[in-house]
Amino acid sequence: MITQASPQTEESMDTGKPAPSRTASIGTRSRVSNKALDDRGFSETVGDITVDQPRMQTRDVNVYYGDKQAIKDVSLDIGRNEVVAMIGPSGCGKSTFIRCLNRMNDTIEGCRVTGTITLDKQDIYDPTLDVVQLRARVGMVFQKPNPFPKSIYDNVAYGPRIHGLVSSRMETDEIVQRSLERAGLWSEVKDRLTSSGTGLSGGQQQRLCIARAIAVSPDVILMDEPCSALDPIATARIEELIDELRENYTIAIVTHSMQQAARVSQRTAYFHLGDLVEVGETNQIFTNPRHRLTEDYITGRFG
């Protein structure tokens, strides 16, 4: 399924069309102007896709659902201790993109991924790599809060238990407390750890899901519109939390709210119809977008 194109390959394989003339080499690419627009109003990604200390790198990633191509030749670095926000109109492929980063797309039938994705220089689509290990390193928080219908304690303890990180009740207690504290939920639930996780409010449930994700000490946390089902107060609480988590984790977040992207992220990537249109410092994207599509989107002309 996976074409292991080396990062230096000038052709994107499996797509059947000639590769764009740009080089996809990691680390050296700088700004490109967007003079030659194709019919989509897009030729190549504007802005610097690289960072100095990348945690994850994606190069020429294409995703197909059956015959339909969901994202096209996306290359992007995700740096250490930074929050990268993916924005774009619905159906632009931003969720599909982050679901590639921990291979959640594997669970979707007919989904095919080509290109290279690495985590700390290791190809995550390497057939010898165990996807269970990968997902322990790249955690995920979903759009709809989805705690297990178990107790709050068991929700958080689940990951450490299945990965064998804990051997005694005391260690589990400690990890549960630390994770809930980091997720800012400890003070609210410490007296009712045995009650069901599904009995919490929406915002609390989402923080429980974050606590559950960080309980296994992942390197990267992927968040797929984590606040879209929450009210503004709960959203603010999660955003604060994301900012705090940045110290220890790399975070990739998909959001529909441009304000949220502006508030929580350091870098922003704008997706449009499966293309990665523009990448840049969040400040620059929102104050001085270089691509016309980005500008149209953030000024509210569409999307």
Partner: protein, 441 residues
């Protein structure tokens, strides 16, 4: 309108708007009438269904409740060594073969000393159940010291006498039209006057196996047979069906083969059950040489029959587990097996169990396939295991319904009541399970 007064429909009509016109009013009335009619149709359908069910239950209970009482006659019996033909009370073989019927006859002669002539005597002996001797034998075997003593005992009356007392045989009918003679009625009336005949709770019905004599027949053999059959069915069908459902729902690729399998499972659920019986006869009995009439074979056949039901219910239960739970588990780095065993199965289990219980209830009421594998035989002994010949409750009902004796009519109804009781119990259990374990997420 500014002064807060509401206007009437007539005023609206007068204002010239079509909203209040006579045509609109007519349409409105017509629509309202149509809605009332529509609701009435549904109500009528429900009422008809409920009344038919009520009629059925009333009929069964009205016919069957008397079977739970049985007429008994009090006799003064003497354990006379001479009549019994026993010399030594320590000889168990002699005890078991002794002439207890003779003892009953002697007791009857003592109660009615004036009866003479062979025919009259035979009619007299016929008022007591031919199984009364067994009661005496049991007492004697349990306590051999009774030899030589005399005691008053309530012994079961013959089924015709029982029917007479329950009013199913009318005393005022001409003698030639009833199975009880005038003479016998006179004896019964004599016993009634002396308080030596009464109806008491029919324990035999629950403790005995089948019998040709209605007053000695019970459902113990059939319920035990049903129990073993269902046990075999449950042990085989539940794990098989759950495993099949999990594979089809969670692992199987969606291609032509799995489509064919799915269609066939759905079709199997609609195959007439007698076909499964024929299959069981051909495969399990003729080919594998398993014993006939055995609950093991019955269970195997019913497994084939209930498998599709449980598989379909289990798949529906698995499908109803929200994908967000699966994603959460996979996102945490759970393997597919862990996702299924830790999260999906516990959530799907109530639905699977409900399906299983409903399948079991279906199997409990199934008759046709069991006829084919010989579970319709007349079997008196209560089966001691799944390999011994047995029958099951619905087949027992079928057998009794076929019997000519009047007393089997009420026993048929009583057995139906017991069967329905089990079915209601099982369905109630399914409801309770669903309520108890239903989770919200």
């Amino acid at each position: 309108m500014t002064d807060g007064k509401l206007i009437t429909g007539a005023e609206l009509a007068a204002s010239g708007s079509w909203h209040g016109s006579p045509q609109t009013q007519r349409r409105l009335r017509k629509r309202q009438a149509a809605e009332k009619r529509f609701r009435a149709y549904g109500l009528v359908a429900i009422l008809m269904g409920v009344s038919f069910v009520a009629l059925l239950f009333f009929d069964i209970v009205a016919k069957g409740w008397t079977a739970f009482m049985q007429t008994h006659i009090q006799l003064e019996v003497t354990y006379d060594p001479e009549v019994l033909g026993i010399a030594d009370s320590g000889d168990t073989q002699a005890l078991s073969r002794a002439n207890y019927t003779g003892m009953v006859k002697a007791a009857m002669r003592k109660t009615f000393p004036n009866v003479s002539g062979r025919r009259a005597k035979r009619a007299l002996y016929g008022t007591v159940s031919s199984g009364a001797g067994f009661v005496l034998r049991e007492r004697m075997m349990a306590n051999p010291d009774l030899l030589g003593s005399t005691e008053k005992l309530w012994l079961p009356a013959d089924d015709d006498i029982d029917m007479l007392l329950k009013g199913h045989i009318r005393r005022d009918a001409p003698e030639s039209d009833r199975r009880v003679s005038d003479q016998q009625i006179a004896w019964v009336e004599q016993l009634e006057q002396s308080g030596q005949i009464r109806k008491q709770f029919n324990t035999t019905f629950f403790t005995a196996g089948d019998s040709r004599e209605p007053e000695l027949a019970g459902i113990r053999g059939a319920t035990t047979g049903s129990f073993y059959t269902l046990l075999v069915t449950l042990i085989l069908s539940f794990p098989l069906a759950v495993a099949a459902a999990i594979y089809l729902e969670e692992f199987a690729p969606k291609n032509r083969w799995t489509d064919i399998i799915e269609v066939n499972i759905n079709n199997l659920a609609a195959v007439p059950s007698i076909v499964f019986g024929l299959l069981g006869l051909a495969v399990f009995i003729n080919f594998f040489g398993l014993p006939r009439s055995a609950p093991l074979v019955g269970g195997l056949v019913l497994t084939l029959m209930t498998l599709p039901t449980i598989i379909i219910a289990s798949r529906a239960a698995l499908k109803s587990v929200p994908p967000s739970i699966r994603e959460a588990a996979l996102g945490m780095g759970a393997s597919k097996t862990q996702m299924i065993t830790h999260h999906v199965l516990p959530l799907a289990m109530p639905g699977m169990l409900t399906g299983t219980i409903i399948g079991m209830a279906q199997a409990l009421g199934e008759t046709a396939p069991l006829l084919m594998i010989g579970m319709v035989a007349f079997i008196v002994d209560v089966p001691g295991g799944p390999l011994e010949p047995a029958t099951v409750l619905p087949v027992q009902i079928f057998l009794w319904a076929d019997s000519p004796e009047r007393a089997f009519v009420e026993r048929t109804s009583a057995a139906i009541m017991v069967l329905l009781g089990f079915l209601i119990l099982m369905n109630a259990l399914a409801v309770v399970l669903r309520r108890r374990f239903e989770r919200r997420w």
